[in-house]
């Protein structure tokens, strides 16, 4: 119960050594590149790259198992919905129509739509590991300074890191309150009716809000007494210095972004890679 949520581990890999800002910027640059491009070849390159980085940062599968399951389910649903709402989208984009399987009405499976859906699926799949790497290898206390460095106001950035700081406490409060309510006789099973479930949630949330408000008052006083908000800017104790590793990481990201742009402009003449013409 000590770490809970974003359990950034203190490992000694090249990725952990990067500063939070670098990781955030690389994440944003690469996400930009992948989101811009619909070229499967380019996306696959980034995907391979992000899996290599995942490997380097020594993140184990058990750490990200839950997130992976969520992502895969989400992507599958997303792909299905894309097909249901616009089964002919691939044809609209690529201008050709090769039917693989004829279903009812307009729901024919075409190579074009299939290709589009696969492209989109890979897009997400190449970006999500990068997000996980950022969250799992960045010290939570560095998150705030990283956000602040890319222009987020420090009060907002700090409230973000404070949320992380108090998340485990509130989680623990929730568990304690829920246990004591169960002892009173509250049924936690999902068999209860909607109205009962609502009342049940209320009887846990009310004490939780009250105890959280107490916490907020204490922390606000503590922060006031130590000069939070005195100036328009502040410095950060846990901000990491940029060094060569950061420069290399940023360079790789920028090269990948430029590569994507070059492929789009000079080879594909657009955001899409069209293998059908």
């Amino acid at each position: 119960m000590r770490t809970g949520f974003f359990a950034a581990q203190k490992l000694d890999t090249p990725i952990h050594k990067l500063s939070g800002i670098t990781k955030l910027l690389c994440f944003l640059i690469l996400t930009g590149a992948v989101m811009f491009s619909y070229d499967l070849r380019v996306i696959l390159c980034v995907m391979v790259f992000s899996f290599i980085v995942l490997r380097i940062s020594k993140i184990t599968f058990s750490q990200i198992k839950l997130m992976v399951i969520y992502v895969v389910v989400f992507l599958a649903v997303n792909a299905l919905l894309t097909f249901l709402f616009s089964p002919a989208y691939g044809t609209e984009i690529y201008g050709t129509r090769h039917v693989i399987l004829e279903l009812f009405g307009k729901y024919d499976i075409t190579t074009e739509t299939l290709f589009f859906i696969i492209t989109k699926f890979t897009k997400y799949l190449s970006v999500i590991p990068l997000g996980m790497i950022f969250l799992l290898t960045t010290d939570p206390s560095e998150l705030a300074s990283s956000l602040n460095a890319i222009g987020v106001h420090y009060k907002i950035a700090f409230s973000f890191s404070l949320t992380l700081r108090y998340f485990p406490d509130i989680q623990r409060d929730y568990r304690d309150i829920s246990q004591s309510q169960q002892a009173r006789g509250l049924e936690m099973s999902n068999k209860a009716k909607i109205w009962d479930r609502f009342k049940r949630a209320l009887s846990i949330i009310l004490p939780l809000i009250l105890s959280t408000l107490d916490r907020i008052e204490t922390i606000t006083n503590a922060m006031d007494l130590r000069g939070f908000g005195k100036y328009k800017k502040r410095t950060w104790y846990s901000k990491r210095k940029m060094d060569r590793g950061d420069a290399v990481a940023l360079l790789i990201s920028v090269v990948l972004l430029l590569g994507t742009l070059i492929v789009s402009v000079f080879i594909n003449h657009g955001r899409f890679y069209n293998p059908f013409i």
Binding site: L162, Q179, S180, A222, R226, Y231, K239
Partner: protein
């Protein structure tokens, strides 16, 4: 003294806008640089408000009307701002956990420098230097979850000292600490005072604990007025403590029981300075010999048996190792040990909140492994430390009735039972009141009532008196004793040594998941080894017995306990 006072209140009054009466009246007080002051008083006496006036939370965060003047370093505080004041007066708040702002020790210590835009290299340097002063330099990268209460408090202290303030203000520094850590805290404050000659102000109601080290002056507040301003020896030989309901040191109580009248000439402020004449010593010994020992009845049946129980939250990290002990029907006992020792875990296992990995728990001889949380609650009640975490209904009646309503008991019976339990808990007049209108102690009683309504045979209370002054402490504990007299077995999870001494004849001590002692409180509190391992501290009665040449210190402590019980319940 020739120097100018660093703090000067003159005809100072303060009234919160939300209150109809002033909280502080006509305060006149001067504090000089380098003094070490204790501000004491019962809850609601205005001592915290006085602290807030000093550090600027009043009037900058809590609004209200100020009359008269408060000058710090010769400047009127209301013309300044909280940031400037925080550079002169550094405050260590009582809840070290709640005010831990950073995600690591180093970051937390640096917090105020970050806000002052100090460059990073300088911050690192200064953090290292200050953390050494409080012995936290090896923990700079640790997160608050890896620290003990004392370590968190030392971090807070470092975070305040980093600004090189002139005055250190401690707001109830002992509130959340176990006895040994509290003792260390007082020693650290003392060392800092010796080394830096900063002005120290300690706001506390635990007089004996603060007097573990020297104090220049004690200011007593009552109903918003200063009623005493004297040195510890004068204060203890006066009647002021008993009049204001502040607990006097135990050794003083013992001396009084033996008919010795306390005078300032005896230097009674600290047990170390106490000067007893031979006639006084023999008076004490006489008294000790005259007290009749209570017979402790141990022939009753067992209500709970914990048999060889082990438990771990995470694989490989066992927090309870083969614990075995029994609870006798109708007894009132305490479960003590440092934070994280496994006390609450035992309670949670008994209530079924967690499931033991090994061993069995019996209720009246019956294995309750297959009983649900709800079923166990009808036998074993659990009252959490913070009433705000238990109260889920806006009205008192509904709160107390909740357990019955959720068990589909008919309306008429619910009403009858709620009325009955509210009478027992002294809350009958409030039956139609909203919970929000009650004081902390009353809320506590509502939570106890809401558990008692299910007629459990045993109730477990987690730190029932934490943060309470002597008066409220006595109120809550006498109430529990009454419940106990009605036949309900009471298990108290605590590290309050007074509570152990005064209310629980038997104490079970747990350390690092092992039960290391199961004895009378008088034995526990006079065994140096147990005291050390469980983060307790020895009672001043033990020292008093030694000073007076009484050989069996344990018997002396037991004599004190029995005598006190006889006096109180005659």
């Amino acid at each position: 003294m020739k120097t100018e006072p660093i703090i000067a209140f003159k005809d100072f009054s303060f009234q919160y806008f939300s209150q109809s009466e002033p909280t502080l009246h006509d305060i006149n007080l001067e504090i000089y640089p380098g003094e070490k002051i204790m501000i004491a008083g019962p809850s609601g006496s205005g001592k915290s408000t006085l602290g807030h006036c000093l550090n600027g939370l009043i009037p900058f965060s809590y609004k209200g009307e100020i009359k008269g003047s408060l000058k710090i370093n010769g400047q009127e505080t209301k013309d300044q701002d909280i940031f400037r004041l925080s550079k002169i007066i550094g405050t260590v708040l009582q809840d070290a956990d709640g005010q831990f702002v950073g995600l690591s020790v180093g970051e937390d210590i640096a917090f105020s420098m970050e806000n002052d835009r100090v460059p990073q290299e300088e911050m690192k340097e200064r953090v290292l230097k200050v953390s050494k002063m409080v012995d936290m330099d090896r923990w700079l990268t640790s997160s608050p979850y890896e620290l003990s209460g004392g370590q968190k408090q030392r971090t807070e202290l470092a975070g305040v000292m980093i600004d090189d303030v002139d005055v250190l203000l401690f707001d109830e520094p002992l509130a959340n600490l176990d006895p040994a850590t509290g003792k260390q805290a007082i020693e650290i404050i003392h060392d800092i005072h010796e080394e830096s000659h900063k002005t120290i102000i300690i706001i506390e109601h635990r007089l004996e604990d603060v007097l573990h080290r020297e104090i220049d002056r004690i200011i007593i507040l009552n109903d918003g007025r200063i009623i005493a301003d004297m040195n510890p020896h004068e204060l203890i030989s006066s009647n002021i403590l008993s009049e204001t309901g502040i607990r006097e040191p135990l050794y003083v109580t013992a001396l009084k029981y033996s008919g010795i009248s306390i005078s300032a000439k005896m230097y009674p402020g600290h047990i170390e300075t106490l000067n007893m004449s031979d006639s006084m010593k023999s008076a004490l010994v006489e008294w000790y010999k005259s007290v009749e020992f209570d017979n402790h009845d141990t022939s009753r049946s067992r209500v709970i048996e914990i048999d060889d129980v082990s438990f771990s939250y995470e694989k490989g990290k066992e927090v309870l190792h083969s614990a075995t002990f029994q609870i006798t029907e109708g007894e009132m006992l305490s479960l003590v040990g440092r934070n994280g020792a496994g006390k609450s875990t035992i309670a949670k296992l008994m209530c079924g909140f967690e499931k033991e990995n090994k061993g069995r728990i019996f209720y009246k001889g019956e294995d309750i492994a297959d009983k649900s949380i709800k079923e166990r609650a009808e036998r074993i009640g659990y009252v959490m430390q913070n009433p705000n975490q238990m109260l889920s209904q806006p009205m008192i009646f509904d709160e107390v009735a909740l357990g019955l309503k959720l068990r589909q008991i008919p309306e008429e019976e619910i009403e009858k039972r709620v009325k009955k339990v509210l009478i027992i808990c002294g809350l009958a007049p409030f039956i139609k009141w909203p919970v929000a209108a009650l004081s902390y102690g009353q809320k506590k009683r509502v939570t106890i009532a809401s558990i008692l309504i299910l007629n459990p045979k045993i109730i477990i209370l987690d730190e029932p008196t934490a943060g309470q002054d002597y008066k409220h402490y006595t109120e809550i504990m006498e109430f529990l004793r009454k419940i106990n007299a009605l036949g309900v077995t009471v298990l108290l999870i605590t590290h309050d040594m007074h509570l152990m001494l005064e209310y629980t004849p038997r104490s079970v001590v747990i350390t690092d998941g092992d039960i290391i002692c199961d004895e009378a409180a008088s034995v526990v509190l006079t065994s140096p080894d147990i005291i050390d391992r469980a983060n307790l501290r020895e009672t001043s009665l033990y020292t008093l017995a030694q000073i007076s040449g009484i050989e069996d210190e344990t018997a002396f402590v037991q004599c004190f306990i029995d005598y006190e019980r006889q006096v109180k319940h005659k």
